[in-house]
């Protein structure tokens, strides 16, 4: 029952000694329901505490009685010494005596009141969970089960989720990729928004790796062959993996701007001076030719050029050395290719197809990942802005909501460069142009705090580092109470979800990514009627070839 507390601090709930409730049965993050006089409150357990009525109990704990039983301890437990929960009430719904079991019939809303003293507290039921999570029927996307309630399920409205930027965080191996892939699958199934996935490790498109169970799991393309289009930067790697991409992406030298070099400054380990010489090069060679011309120079020519431009020789040489490595990027092409690659992607997105861009070997090169995703996103974003502005002016349709998915966000949303990348601006402009981000990261403390604070919904798996936990919770309401919950997540497949898409913070065990998940996704696709992929759809012959390749991988 409730014995104290406040709205800001949360409620103190004394465990009922006579009902034989044990602290050991209540996990931090569990859901409880407080039945007040007129309202029912939904709350999350944020802390657990052993209390004694008087300090002297610590000094004179129960002794074993001569008979050897625990009579004294039994007498004292629940009377002099008792368990107390800290619970944070977030939502409330009116109590109706006419609803069977005193349940709730209305949807829950934010709690602006707290229950009175001695209100009884119960473990939450599925009906409570549904009342809070606005289960719009059982067809809403089911993310997983809440802490300690294996059979209950937390349902998310993915439209709401996608309408603001989303962050998925967690230490390495905590299940970010699995969680994010489920969210993406849900988005594809739902069909309102489209997504563009910059798939660093090629684990979203065709198939992903389950490292623990040493098996492959289905990627988005396998789940939704007709709604997902895969592009690749690295045809070689795709072929090695027996995957036939729907398209290949190339970037033209002429499309890389000195500003891109600035963004990559840290990743390329360039000094400020070295990075800024790119601007001198641009002035010298012209906007579209600077990089190719620069890289075409021989080492000796660089010295001359430094003289000619009046820039620091060492700085220019460093820049030259770092950028020379790019000549090995197979995806860099002469001119204009990026525009058409981006065009191809945009076309797919506009048709309502989701796009996964696999990086293949280049995923291991963060500079390449950042360069390409930044560049393509810039183009796509431009298109969305233009179409949105036209639509606002009464010409044409609104562009579809677009979710851009990036990994390792801390590499290019650091405070230094967040303001310069397109992702920084997307995060900041909110959904003005119907574009939002889904960022996946294991080092949230490295991400610009302004970007973090713009994330509508955050899903965090276990984190090990204090700074990362603080970063995830930054700006969150009740951050103090959530801190304890976040710190105690299972190291795998458990996440704290809070923000825009959930009415109250909740600890979820994401459902297993398995056959039953596939099945749920599959039914939806056929029911909704598939959208043809068009020219890039796999033909029957291609599919057979792919299947042959899968069975007998080409050398």
């Amino acid at each position: 029952m409730v014995v104290g507390g406040s709205l800001s601090r949360g409620l103190d709930v004394r465990l009922d000694g006579s009902a034989n409730a044990s602290l050991e049965d209540v996990a931090v993050g569990s859901f409880v329901t407080v039945v007040g006089r007129r309202q029912r409150y939904f709350a999350v357990v944020t802390d657990l505490e052993l209390r004694t009525v008087d300090d002297s109990v610590r000094h004179f704990p129960p002794t074993r009685s001569p008979g050897g039983d625990d009579f004294h301890a039994e007498v004292m437990a629940g009377t002099l010494a008792y368990g107390q929960l800290s619970v944070m009430p977030s939502m409330t719904a009116p109590l109706h005596s006419d609803v069977a079991g005193g349940g709730t019939s209305e949807l829950a809303e934010q709690a602006k009141t707290i229950p009175e003293h001695f209100a009884p507290v119960y473990a939450a039921s599925q009906a409570d969970i549904d009342a809070v999570f606005r289960a719009q029927g059982s067809d809403a996307f089911s993310l997983g089960s809440p802490q300690g309630m294996e059979t209950a399920s937390i349902r998310l409205d993915l439209g709401t989720l996608a309408s603001r930027s989303v962050g998925v965080f967690g230490a390495s191996g905590s299940g970010k990729t699995f969680l994010a892939r489920m969210l993406l699958a849900g988005l594809v199934k739902e069909g309102d928004a489209v997504s563009l996935v910059f798939d660093m490790e090629s684990e979203y498109g065709w198939q992903g790796q389950d490292n623990d169970r040493r098996r492959q799991v289905k990627g988005l393309k396998q789940l939704f062959p007709s709604r997902v289009v895969t592009f690749t930067l690295d045809e070689e790697s795709s072929r090695r993996r027996g995957v036939t991409p729907d398209g290949v992406v190339r970037i033209g030298y002429d499309e890389i701007e000195p500003a891109d070099i600035e963004v990559l400054r840290d990743l390329l380990n360039l000094s400020e001076v070295a990075a800024s010489t790119a601007w001198n090069l641009e002035r010298h060679y012209g906007r579209s030719d600077w990089l190719r011309a620069f890289l075409a120079l021989s080492g000796a020519d660089v010295g001359e050029l430094a003289n000619e431009l009046g820039v620091n020789l060492a700085a220019l040489q460093t820049l030259y050395r770092r950028l020379s490595a790019w000549s090995r990027f197979g995806f860099l092409a002469d001119t204009g290719e990026g525009r058409s690659s981006a065009g191809g992607i945009i076309e797919q997105l506009q048709r309502g197809n989701h796009v996964v861009l696999e990086f293949g070997q280049y995923g291991r090169n963060t500079a390449a990942y950042v360069l390409v995703s930044n560049l393509l996103t810039r183009r796509i974003h431009e298109t969305w802005v233009r179409r949105k502005e036209l639509a606002d002016g009464g010409q044409g349709d609104e562009p579809r909501p677009l979710v851009i998915f990036i990994e390792e966000a801390h590499k290019f949303l650091t405070p230094e460069v967040a303001s310069q990348t397109i992702f920084g601006s997307i995060a900041r402009e909110l959904r003005k142009y119907n574009v939002t981000l889904m960022i996946v990261d294991q080092r949230p403390s490295g991400i610009d705090s302004e970007v973090m604070s713009q994330l509508g919904t955050r899903l965090s798996c276990a984190l090990n580092d204090d700074r990362d936990m603080n970063a995830v919770l930054m700006g969150a309401r009740d951050a103090n109470q959530l801190r304890g919950v976040l710190a105690r997540l299972d190291s795998k497949q458990q996440a704290l979800v809070f923000g825009h898409a959930v009415p109250m913070p909740v600890v979820v065990r994401p459902r297993d990514y398995d056959e039953s998940f596939y099945a749920e996704m599959a039914i939806a696709t056929s029911a909704a009627g598939s959208i043809p992929v068009g020219a890039l759809a796999e033909t029957e012959a291609e599919r057979m070839q792919r299947e042959i390749d899968e069975l007998f991988p080409p050398e």
């Binding site: 004179f60 002794t63 009579f71 039994e74 009377t79």
Partner: protein, 196 residues
């Protein structure tokens, strides 16, 4: 001398709202420490807190008489006048009173009359006091060190006759714990005395 349940044991000699003193009819004939008493009519109920034996006439102090005798009994046999000179008295703490057919815990509106008859309660009367143990706090607030033993005595004897011994002891222990939440040592001392 064993007291039979329901037996009349003496009369009230001193009477306060919360405490009575009674004199026994028989020397050494007091109910045991912690025994439940019914006093007068309408009845008041009290728990024996203390028992003492003394000379009837305080101006004639006792002297030893057994130097040359083998047993204690021989002293009384050799001095038959002693039973007229000596008496047993006991003090009881009032814990409840009868109001019509029911028993109420707490102090009666008036203390028992002087010379009111004092009975040892029978098991039916005791049941009301074992079913609800809330009255125990009336004993705990008494300053006398003997009350803890009196309480333990009551609980020990009651436990021997109730149906569910363990359940009764746990319930009693928890009731005590609520009263003695700031004094776990005293609580444990009473529990120990109850169960051994």
């Amino acid at each position: 001398m064993d007291i039979i349940a329901g037996q009349r044991v003496g009369e009230v000699m001193v009477s306060h709202s919360q405490r009575i003193e009674a004199q026994c009819y028989d020397l050494h004939g007091a109910p045991p420490l912690g025994a439940l008493l019914r006093i007068g009519s309408p009845p008041a109920y009290a728990v024996v807190r203390e028992i003492w034996h003394e000379a009837l006439d305080p101006s004639r102090p006792l002297t030893p008489r057994g130097r040359n005798l083998e047993t204690e009994e021989e002293i009384y046999a050799a001095n038959p006048q002693l039973s007229a000179m000596l008496t047993t008295r006991f003090a009881g703490l009032v814990v409840g009173f009868g109001a019509g057919p029911t028993v109420r815990f707490g102090l009666p509106p008036q203390p028992p009359n002087l010379h009111a008859f004092v009975f040892a309660c029978d098991s039916d009367e005791t049941a009301a006091f074992t079913n609800d143990l809330g009255w125990m706090r009336l004993l705990l607030t008494d300053g006398s060190p003997a009350v803890d033993s009196a309480l333990a005595g009551f609980l020990r004897r009651s436990a021997a006759v109730v149906a569910d011994r363990q359940g009764f002891l746990l319930r009693a222990g928890r009731t005590l714990a609520a009263e003695l939440s700031r004094d776990p040592q005293r609580l444990q001392a009473i529990l120990r005395e109850t169960t051994t």
